[in-house]
Amino acid sequence: MDYITRIMANARTRLTGVVDDALRMGLFEAVDEFCRETDIWQEDIAFDTVTYTPDLVYDLVPTEGTILRLIALKVTGQTGSLNGTMRVPGELKISSMLNADVNVTATVSLSPIDPVEVGSEFPVIDAWIWQRHFTALTDGLIMKMASQVDKPYTSGTLVEYHGRRFRNAIGVARADNIKANLADGQAWQFPDFAAQRNSSTQVT
């Protein structure tokens, strides 16, 4: 049994009278929220720069999914970070003055595209996310379905229980992502007000 099948089976057994079409919609919402709040699905997009102009915009196109945030921006193969912004997701502006033909790697976080648009029944994300977080996604799905009004499976108790587990899992996944899933890694981070930033929003 693959993980998506397991999630659907779990949800069916817990939600009396639920229909699969609605479950698929709910699963997309759960996966989308999980990705949006954790930034765990990421992709490195490499491209070559062109001659610098202040308003130059690079359109970033991920292999799958839709871009959420700019996580890192570096000259490929180097460790130092570049300055850049992405006010509109996917439209990268590099503040650092670079020569033409420099290979740059932008790391972006992603969320799934509506499965209907890509001809799939279920959200398309990296397989490891299903494997690693299937319990969290199950909790998110059940929470979202049980919160619908006037259904046989409407349940405040389920919403509270699975909602709390889902929120906790998001927090754990976010922290694990920051630590790159390193066991016994730094379990804390500076709060936003204490983080070091410069005026041009350097991303690392």
Binding site: V19, D21, M25, P152, Y153
Partner: protein, 125 residues
């Protein structure tokens, strides 16, 4: 995969069984009346459970004759829809007992769509 109550004709046929109106062609209840009750039941289901009509983008199917047209309705709620149809047909009867039974059947369908663990056979009679 074939299931019970796949088509308009299936609903009409099963409704006639429960209405004890199986000897045709001079049926007590006209086929078009049963088909219309089916349409009304689907409309009621659309009001209560939009999630049952996701694949039709919220559009409620409409039928105007007894034939083999598929009725796109979730399998687990088909018996409830059949009960609704019978209730709708029995509303025309003037006897008080029939009115009670009709209301019970239709209420059972509504309850099945909106609440868990409802016995859809609790229509009385």
């Amino acid at each position: 995969m074939a299931n019970a109550l796949d088509t308009v004709a299936d609903y009409v046929q099963q409704a006639r069984v429960l209405l004890q109106d199986t000897y045709g062609p001079a049926y007590r209840y006209a086929s078009i009346d049963i088909v219309m009750a089916l349409n009304l039941g689907l409309m009621r289901a659309r009001q209560l459970r939009a999630d049952l009509f996701i694949l039709t983008d919220g559009v409620v199917p409409y039928f105007n004759q007894e034939n083999a047209s598929p009725v796109p309705f979730e399998v687990m709620y088909r018996q409830g829809l059949l009960n609704w149809i019978i209730g709708q047909i029995e509303l025309r009867d003037a006897e008080g007992s029939q009115d009670d039974r009709a209301a019970a059947l239709q209420n059972a369908f509504v309850a099945q769509l909106t609440a868990g663990n409802v016995d859809v056979n609790a229509g009385g009679g």
